[in-house]
Symmetry: D2
Subunit: 342 residues, 4 copies
């Protein structure tokens, strides 16, 4: 029996990657995919990569979602602020995986501050498990609602989790994060205008990126976290990938080999975390669900480098990883998306 899946918001890049993955997932069946402004169009008219691969058409989001009793799991890949209106109305047996920021933060005030809108379903938020698979694997297995992590949050948390779990961090932590242009979504905008973006590199949202509170909230659930977090996002002139350089000062000196051993141990069950020699490179993870991690050390200074594909491990891939766990499947199912060289 396939898992019957609804995708709310299928025309953006998150939806695009959900479709790419779920169309080849051996246990998934896409019941419908919504895209209000493209309703009626073939999915392959929008995602032309899928021409010949699917006959699916976009539909308008159903008005009466309470009646969707034949759906097993609903993915939300809508802009922030929309899932909170729909998800709570779904029948109880429908599992939910939300790729937006709507249900990541437990504090309504923090949400309002970072997302610029009031939360209209904060009571429902407590049902949601934060879907960073590698740190929350067991609780995800029995979860019914997943708040899928932000892309920057994923890259940052996977680099910090072992250090926080081992209570090694002293002093402030600095995260210098860089993202490709697909992080801005599928709609054309001045900051993704090709003539300029292709020769640009710049910082944005200094200190104020909306992923900061989910990072800090999750770090506190992993271990002792009382450090100052300096989090800075930058724009890369490339389509896909996030690279985070995470600057830590530890409570004691550390050799690279020790750092590696600690991470190896922490991620023993985590197929999608790969520890690499030297620096990772976004080139080696693009279009895949891998998070590559490397290290540099000097005395008490440890720099952790992480690289992910922002749309896969940072969004749709991790969402499907969580789907797999929630439905009792191997977490790798449908996610053996091999990268390419070049």
């Amino acid at each position: 029996m396939p898992i019957k899946i609804a995708i709310f918001g299928g025309s953006g890049y998150g939806g695009s990657e959900l479709l790419r993955i779920l169309l080849q997932h051996p246990h998934a069946e896409i019941a419908f995919v919504t895209a209000n402004e493209h309703a009626g169009k073939a999915v392959s008219d929008v995602h032309k990569n899928l021409l010949g691969v699917t006959e699916l058409r976009f539909i308008k989001a159903p008005e009466n979602v309470e009646g969707l009793s034949d759906i097993d799991c609903a993915f939300f890949a809508l802009p922030h602020g929309q899932a909170m209106d729909i998800a709570p109305k779904l029948p109880a047996q429908v599992k939910v995986i939300d790729l937006s920021g709507d249900f990541r933060l437990s504090d309504a005030n923090v949400f309002a501050q970072h997302y610029g809108r009031e939360h209209t379903a904060i009571d429902a938020q407590s049902q949601f498990v934060y879907g960073l698979t590698e740190t929350n694997r067991e609780v995800i297995r029995s979860a019914t609602h997943i708040a899928n992590p932000g892309c920057f949050a994923t890259a940052t948390l996977l680099g910090l989790a072992p250090l926080v779990a081992n209570n090694l961090l002293s002093c402030r932590v600095i995260v210098d994060a860089k993202t490709g242009s697909s992080g801005s979504g599928a709609k054309a905008a001045p900051n993704t205008h090709h003539p300029q973006r292709s020769t640009s590199f710049y910082a944005y949202k200094p200190f104020t990126h909306q992923h900061v509170p989910e990072i800090e909230q999750e770090l506190k659930s992993i271990g002792e976290w009382n450090n100052e977090l300096v989090f800075m996002t930058h724009s890369l002139p490339v389509a896909r990938g996030i690279f985070a350089s995470i600057y830590c000062e530890l409570k004691k000196e550390i050799e690279e080999i020790e750092a590696r051993a600690m991470f190896t141990d922490f991620y023993r069950e985590s197929f999608f975390v790969r520890l690499v020699e030297g620096s990772p490179d976004i080139n080696w993870v693009k279009t895949t669900n891998f998070c590559d991690i490397g290290f540099a050390t000097r005395g008490r200074q440890l720099v952790v480098f992480t690289a992910i594909d922002n749309l896969v491990k940072g969004a749709a891939g991790q969402a499907v990883q969580n789907l797999n766990l929630m439905f009792g499947l191997d977490e790798k199912t449908g996610l053996m998306l091999l990268g390419t060289n070049p």
Copy 2:
């Protein structure tokens, strides 16, 4: 006495390049530069490359252009369809250089067909000289109104002019032209959305590009032109540059050395046309006013390759070249913009 210059439409890429060039032109003084939606803003707020270089601010286009008697020359770098409303109202002594397509075509019907609007000042059109400097140099010297060529038209005409002048072409001519993304202008749009454009190459406007009629009109003024023109435009994943591959069948066999000699002769006075060994490369002309031309031959087949910067030789640079001629200056004045390696 400097030449007093007005720029109508200074916030787009044509305006941007006019500003870059004219700010350093030894005989030009920019009286004002308009940009209705940025009126009041510093020019360097929009063109941040110019920060520290100019204190100019954008103004709204003056309502009463009839009164602009202290201006010597007005450049129009507005979207198609706007110069035709303003330019005819300027005082008689104001010279005009229009970078848009408004005054290039002598036939109002052809204009309407290719630009999707009626021409409202077709009578004024006859005042305009087509500003392809290399073929119309003498008439430009005494012109008062210039219709500056389109970027594709420039790259195509410079490759074909010597062949048409020498009446060598038989059979249809095929122009496979490719442009960088800045050709689409400064406004963000789906076709210049970085995540997709940076890995794209595609054809557009097959057979129907609006530069076709100005190419054919000008070829007829250069010599005998009765050939079929197959003109195809493509989009390159790079910001700047046009490359045209021009496939000709000649009335007789030709060696590369003969082609080169013919072009050398035709462009003897044309500093900005450079004949190169092998293929030109948009890399070597970017940000400059040069048009690089190369050849390949086999029997009666001659392929002419031309490369220009679409915004300089294809727009603002050629416009200033024409300004120089109209005001009795060396055509190179202010245009020794050296390219870079890399």
Copy 3:
């Protein structure tokens, strides 16, 4: 029983893509992969995208290939001139798929002229079937040796085959072809030096590209071909993809709808050929085995646009498509490589 596969030449981009595809092919088992200069290294040290996915190590090419009796199929992804020394020595039951140009041309003189070396195994050449799957499907099914087409040849032939088969072409045909930088292979070279290549577009090997003779040889086997072929290759500032603009003059006028119908008919059995509205775009075929084809028409002028991934449909993907046919499998097996948006 899996198909036991040897890969000769696994460190280049052709080998890289063969590995990516064959590691997930449900009926393939890679017995060994050679790379003389990387012998002993993990495959994932060179193709870091494959880290965690395979434990394979490169070996030196076996000295005694005559003894490889446990291999079912050998792929050659070596530089031109090397497969001809090895392939003929393999045991008779080993099927061969050569991605290089060694066995594509039946005329030793033509080979010598285009590849700059003598052919040392021209007798063996007659065993080889030209592996353009869509035109040679039936003969490939029973073939033992495949000369896999060149990337430019694939893009060109798929655009021309229906027209030649229907004997529609009059006059010369012009192919303006453009390739991404991965077409130059995995070794760094001046023409792929990033600082320059990233802002370059230029023509190369005018009239003399080594894919020309295989195109003409194959066209003659498809139908009546007596036309002059003007074939021009250009370099794109992007990693992957080939786009060909193919300019045809037909014996009669044609509407786009007729062209489309003819191609639809010709490619009825060809899953990997997709006919698109408007222009294809390399963006939509990257990393896939698809060839997207579009049209523009005017009178007797027909322009066919084709887009492929040079390393997949233009090399490793088509090679596996042929493997599937030779071993009685569905040609799509292991090749449902979905592209991505973006």
Copy 4:
């Protein structure tokens, strides 16, 4: 009387930019330019951007440099380790500007450790003034020998100098620096191979970049510097530009407006330092001699962002800025290289 200039090492990117600038410098005359492997070739055969602009040809480096008494100033744009063999032999009246790392470090052991070779002319080093124009302007005016700063060092020092001069830094300073591919020089290499580099971002030389000691040496000359410097270099998939994100913890809280005022004051005489709103962007400084600086603050955390063109302000432009000062000219002479939008 023009300044007679010799350029040792004119075929690399440093030489390329020196030529571009000096060919248009109103007081410079290039006496000769060397490039041993291109001796005899036209400069414009190598730097094809300069075709039509100069008739200069490369020569072999003169054997008897002691006799170069008609030269006023020698630039060295050679690989590290070569200037130290030649510069000390020049006649005393020849001023020297070395773009390599040979004469930046006063400690021979530190040099040997970071450059992997012994210093053969450490006695001559004391003649050299470190050519960071903005901090050493007065001493440069009377200098005869300039060690021109490294590109990363320039971007870092200009961001830190006002803070060190005001003795505001507490705790470690983290510099997350990113460079375009032209920083690797004009020779093709695996790390600049376009198919991979165009989709890459990675860290390299962690903690060990050779610019670290010159940064620390210079900071000590500017003020109190006892902080730990964590310096990390990364590779950007773009040709030109350096962006540094400099993370500082101050001894007291600071508002952005105060930071700005302090920098404004410090750089009051420095035309080429531009303080921008928000983040700088390498796009706005490319091909120019500007260093754009922006800020973000939170409590005692100050992040300084700097952006330069690595080949201009980070190499050839700053070298000419120093030339101007040494010869009593306005430091802007020949350096009004306006950037472009886009």
